[in-house]
């Protein structure tokens, strides 16, 4: 199982700040597709994704225990 984290507007749209799902062996892109298929939230596709607190490309293969964070466009500062 892996953990998905959602923040800011995406968290509000999903209705939860985290969900668990089986995804070991999938790519990050596939995980995004799966979340998109389930929630139909436009931002899921466009936002950046981090694996274990580091931005990662869509080709990344998910490992057991990974934490995947969906990072909407940031607005700190």
């Amino acid at each position: 199982m892996i953990t998905l984290l959602f923040f800011a507007g995406l968290k509000e749209a999903i209705g939860d700040d985290q969900i668990k799902m089986p995804a070991v062996g999938m790519t990050l892109g596939e995980v995004k597709e799966k979340v998109w298929a389930e929630y139909s939230i436009e931002q899921v596709k466009s936002c950046m994704v981090a694996v274990n607190e580091e931005f990662a490309p869509e080709e990344t293969t998910i490992q057991e225990g990974d934490t995947i964070a969906f990072i909407p466009p940031v607005s700190g500062g």
Binding site: L5, F7, A8, G9, E12, Q43, M48, A50, E53, E54, F55, A56, P57, A69, I71, P72, P73, V74, S75, G76, G77
Partner: protein, 152 residues
Amino acid sequence: MEKRCWITDQPLDIQIITEKVIRREAGAINTFIGTVREFTNGRKTLFLQYESYKEMAEKKLEQIATEIDQHWPEAVTVIAHRVGRLEISDIAVMIAVSTPHRSDSYEASRYAIERIKEIVPIWKKEHWEDGEEWIGDQKQTRPGIPLKGEIK
């Protein structure tokens, strides 16, 4: 070693943060303080709510400080960002950089705030009299997507 970059839900202390970079080798200190502004494009803000992905945000601030170390080896950098509910004039972010000479302090400080707006997972929600909105979610105000080269 004391942390040089952190996220907190407590008020940021200008004096304490500045003092962290004062040292005998430095002749110049530049600080940047981002505060909550009341009006943006004529629209009145009541307050802001900042949220972060704390562990990653602290790592990314630390990455920015490391980038500064590489570009300006003589710089000492401190960066703090506040989260939670902030009222008008409250300090959201503070950067302090000390260097031997003044040019470097300005450049490194500027670099830090620009990078914060690019790569650090912190979001703000504007609360107006007539609504609220997560900033950065709209295509026209999207500073948040790191360039490909920044993805490790």
